[in-house]
Amino acid sequence: MIIFYLITLVVIIFTSVGHLLLKIAANRAREANGRVRMVTHPVSIIAYGIFAFVALLSIYAMKGLEMKSFFALNSLTYIVIPLLGLLVLKEPFSRDKITGAVLITAGVLLFYL
């Protein structure tokens, strides 16, 4: 059973990394003043590949987890994405983000009570 939770953890991390890469591609496209297209940027392509892999991993995770539990746990991506933004892109982690992260964590815990 624990293996399916570990796969879900990998899904959460990879999904967040995918979103981070999309943000990096968007930033690079903006810096290039339209000379580079965001959707066809190599970093975006890597992100799409990650999302396709995540879809495959999700199928394996749901072989052992209930659908409702998998998607409740997936809400943790809402926290991991801003955390990666803070660590990699040095984006600010505002008070609203902290409140949101606390509420989401509490919500996931309540879901499992």
Partner: protein
């Protein structure tokens, strides 16, 4: 004259039309979730012709993901992230209903309270314009 009337009609109905984009976006996401569970539950040896069913489901999931990204981007043209983003967490409620009806999973009051608190958290996160979409 006709142009002015058309603009008035467009102004009257356009908010609802755009709201449909958000609703379609979350429905596609929920459809992807249901396909994922179906793919997880189906027998790997089960085929449609010569194509394994789980592969067909996987292609549906990928197509849904692509379509959802496009519709979501269009929706973001008309709505701020702080309004649109909490809609995404509505998918969890649709998934909860689908889990109950399609996959006969149990739904407890704590599941509903948990998802409501998660949605409140997403509303707070969406107040920050730098959130990654």
């Amino acid at each position: 004259m006709f142009s002015t009337s058309w603009q008035a009609i467009k102004k009257q109905f356009s908010p609802r039309i755009h709201l449909h984009l958000l609703i379609i976006s979350i429905l596609i996401q929920a459809f992807g979730a249901i396909c994922t569970k179906f793919a997880a539950e189906c027998d790997p040896a089960e085929t449609y012709g010569i194509i394994p069913i789980y592969l067909i489901m996987y292609l549906f999931i990928l197509a849904g993901m692509g379509l959802q990204v496009v519709v979501w981007q269009y929706a973001l043209k008309y709505y701020s992230l702080s309004f649109a983003y909490p809609f995404r967490s509505m998918v969890s409620f649709i998934v909860l209903l689908a889990a109950f009806w399609l996959f006969h999973e149990s739904v407890t009051i704590m599941n509903i309270i948990g998802l409501t608190v998660i949605t409140a958290g997403v509303v707070f996160l969406a107040q920050d314009k730098e959130i990654l979409a």
